[in-house]
């Protein structure tokens, strides 16, 4: 058997990569991508626990999370496209109209 800790470590690693990506990336698509990564790390955690606790509940939650992630991406991309139409940039640093 693969020890649970390895799966958790994997999820944690992905999570950190994801967060780092959100913080660092300049391209807004890549930021969205990193957010997906974070979500997926959470999914891995849920699945791992589902297997090791012999409960189906974890997997059911994954369904919900995946669905929600998809919807969210759709929405996010729609916003990016709307924003691109106005500003023609994908650089996060330049999207600072909410600045003081």
């Amino acid at each position: 058997m693969v020890p649970l800790e390895w799966y958790l470590l994997l999820a944690f690693a992905l999570f950190v990569i994801g967060v780092t990506g959100v913080l660092i990336r300049r391209n807004i698509i890549m930021v969205l991508l990193s957010i997906e990564l974070i979500l997926n790390s959470a999914n891995i955690t849920f699945v791992a626990y589902s297997y090791y606790l012999q409960s189906i509940r974890g997997q059911v939650v994954v369904f919900f999370v995946l669905t929600m992630a998809a919807a969210e991406v759709a929405l996010g991309l729609a916003l990016v496209i709307a924003l691109y139409r106005v500003r023609a940039v994908l650089n996060v640093d330049e999207m600072n109209l909410m600045r003081w």
Partner: protein
């Protein structure tokens, strides 16, 4: 009967009120009806009271109401009716009534007719309060009241500056005396705990001799002011500015006798202070001769009479001073009649001569105004002290008492004064009525005898001057009046029983008569037989003559030594006061200005500073804080992550 006595002052008070309020508008020249009516009513009741006292009613107190009740100081408005009061009532209301009747004639053409009677009634009221009061305080009320009325009446013709000045002088000089009187009242209260006569006199022994001396001297100062003795006599001659009835009533018969009344009333206190008695006698004697000497050379008919009054008052005080209180009262009594007569008579002369008062412009009037002349003659003989007229009896008693008491110097002074009195009075008579007529041509045409409203009082007074001396004062020292009045004297305070032999007494009487007659003879010599004599003597004794004519320059001395410095001082105080006041006002203004400056600074720096400070803080804070809002989502995410990490760390440990 005697219980009605309280009405006596009420009538004149009402009269004054009615005339005062309605005189100008409604009553006008019927004012005399109100006034005379009031005084006549008072006179009637006074007569009833007098008869009651004379037939044996004992001294009575009638209390009207409780006036002052403060701690242990209680004074009621109450009247004491005793023999002295009864006599004074007769004099005041009797002569008062005659003067009121006379005034209706004399003041007939005057603008202020109603005002005159108002004041006259007010005076009667005050004088009656003075003599009726049962305590020193009530006497003082009346005292002040008559002083006020004297001022009002002297300055009656207020458009004349000399009259107003004379009124002021009278009131102010009087006031000096009043200060003494007040001190006396205070001391009496301190010593006896009360100011009522019946509380003080029986306990007179409570006062030590020095206290009694102090009290009596203070009281006497008051008497000096009111009764015009040296040195406070200076107002009386000037008081002649007032209408002649005023001079007759106030400055001859009534107000000026208030001082004598006060001294006689207080005889119990004076009995304990022989020094004060000496002072009284000496002052009286000095005043008598001093005033008489001035009267010798005066040319205004009323002035001579004024100085004569001062002189006769001196006689009365002399009497009191040697212990002959009753003789003093007797002289007061007779003097009221003949002096009143003389003043009213002079008024009649002035009236006849259309206002002329200078004797140098008179003469030869005896057949033109016969009634005036005859009554005036009687008055002159009376005052000169020629028997059997009134003046002789009272004056002689005083002289005898002085002699019997061993006061030979005072007696001598009094005799010389009697001579002078006779001389200057006959001089007055001769200059006015006899000899060549020196009257102004204009005036001569209008000479006429006065109306009966004026001559009848003259005749009544003349009758009294003829008879009253003998009726009430004979035989000397034991006449009816002496018996009547003896109860008012304290034990041991009255005149010594006279160890004079009948021969000596008769001798003294003869001397008085001789002195009076020689006065007449000398005057006759000077003014009828050899009219050039006066001028010659005046030139020969130039220094003396000038001094007398200028009244010893007393007025001038007072002006320079007292009045001027006082005026200067009060001016100085006023200026100083102005400085202080102005200074204070300016200073307060300046301080207010300063305070407003400070407020301003405070307002700007502190208040505004605070407000600005708050906003500055917010500003700086906001400026700093808004930098958090970068608008970059990644920054926000970073913040969130940092928070989560911190929480996780905390949670794990």
């Amino acid at each position: 009967m005697i219980q009605l006595a309280w009405l006596i002052p009420i009538f004149p008070a009402l009269g004054a009120l009615v005339n005062g309020l309605f005189g100008r508008t409604h009553i006008k020249d019927r004012a005399h009806l109100v006034a005379i009516g009031a005084v006549a009513a008072s006179f009637l009741i006074s007569c009833l009271v007098f008869i009651s006292m004379a037939t044996g009613t004992p001294a009575t107190t009638i209390t009207l109401y409780e006036w002052i009740a403060v701690a242990n100081f209680k004074v009621n408005v109450a009247f004491l009716i005793d023999p002295l009061t009864a006599i004074m009532l007769m004099v005041v209301t009797g002569v008062g009534l005659l003067v009121h009747i006379y005034s209706s004639g004399y003041m007939h053409h005057d603008e202020g007719y109603w005002r005159f009677f108002t004041y006259l009634n007010l005076f009667m009221f005050s004088m009656l309060i003075l003599i009726l009061g049962d305590s020193y305080l009530l006497m003082f009320v009346g005292w002040e009241g008559v002083g006020l009325c004297s001022y009002l009446l002297i300055g009656f013709w207020y458009q004349k500056p000399s009259a107003t000045r004379a009124g002021n002088k009278a009131f102010i000089v009087n006031r000096i005396g009043d200060a003494g009187f007040l001190l006396g009242i205070f001391t009496i209260f301190m010593t006896f705990g009360s100011v009522r006569y019946l509380d003080v006199f029986p306990k007179a022994g409570l006062a030590t001799e020095s206290v009694a001396t102090a009290i009596t001297l203070f009281l006497f100062i008051g008497a000096m002011g009111k009764s015009a003795q040296v040195p406070l006599y200076v107002w009386l001659p000037d008081a002649m500015e007032g209408p002649t009835p005023v001079s007759a009533l106030i400055h001859a018969a009534t107000m000026v006798t208030a001082g004598i009344y006060m001294v006689v009333r207080s005889n119990a206190l004076f009995a304990l202070a022989p020094f004060s008695l000496e002072v009284v006698a000496v002052v009286g004697a000095i005043t008598a001769i001093f005033a008489a000497s001035i009267g010798l050379v005066q040319t205004d008919i009323k002035r001579v009479l004024a100085y004569s009054t001062v002189s006769q008052l001196g006689y009365m005080f002399l009497a009191c001073g040697v212990g002959a209180y009753l003789s003093g009262v007797f002289h007061l009594f007779t003097h009221a009649f003949f002096k009143g007569l003389l003043f009213l008579g002079s008024g009649s002369v002035i009236h006849a001569l259309s206002g002329e008062q200078d004797m140098r412009k008179m003469g030869g009037l005896y057949d033109k105004i016969p009634i005036t002349y005859k009554t005036f003659l009687i008055g002159t003989i009376a005052i000169a002290g020629i028997p059997p007229l009134a003046g002789f009896w009272s004056k002689d008693e005083i002289l005898t008492s002085a002699f019997a008491g061993g006061h030979y110097l005072l007696w001598g002074v009094a005799v010389v004064t009697a001579f002078m009195t006779s001389f200057y009075m006959f001089r007055l008579l001769f200059l006015t009525f006899h000899g060549q007529s020196r009257v102004d041509h204009e005036v001569e045409h209008h000479i006429h005898e006065s109306p009966s409203s004026m001559t009848v009082p003259l005749m009544i007074l003349a009758g009294f001057s003829l008879l009253v001396g003998m009726l009430v004062g004979f035989p000397p020292e034991s006449g009816w009046i002496h018996h009547f009045l003896s109860p008012i004297l304290a034990k041991g305070g009255h005149e010594e029983g006279h160890p004079l032999s009948l021969g000596l007494e008769l001798g003294l009487m003869a001397l008085s008569t001789l002195v009076a007659v020689s006065g007449w003879a000398l005057a006759r010599q000077f003014y009828i037989k050899e009219p050039q004599l006066p001028k010659m003597i005046a030139e020969r004794a130039h220094g003396v003559y000038t001094t007398l004519v200028n009244k010893y320059w007393v007025d001038e001395i007072y002006q320079a030594v007292i009045v001027r410095p006082l005026l200067w001082f009060s001016n100085f105080l006023w200026t100083f006061d102005q400085w202080v006041l102005d200074g204070l006002v300016n200073a307060s203004g300046w301080i207010t200005l300063l305070e407003s400056r400070i407020s301003e600074i405070f307002d700007i720096y502190i208040v505004d500073g605070t407000v600005n400070g708050v906003s500055a803080t917010l500003d700086v804070g906001a400026r700093g804080l808004r930098r958090l809002q970068t608008g970059a989502v990644q920054n926000y995410v970073l913040a969130m992550v940092t928070g989560i990490v911190v929480l996780a760390v905390v949670f794990m440990f």
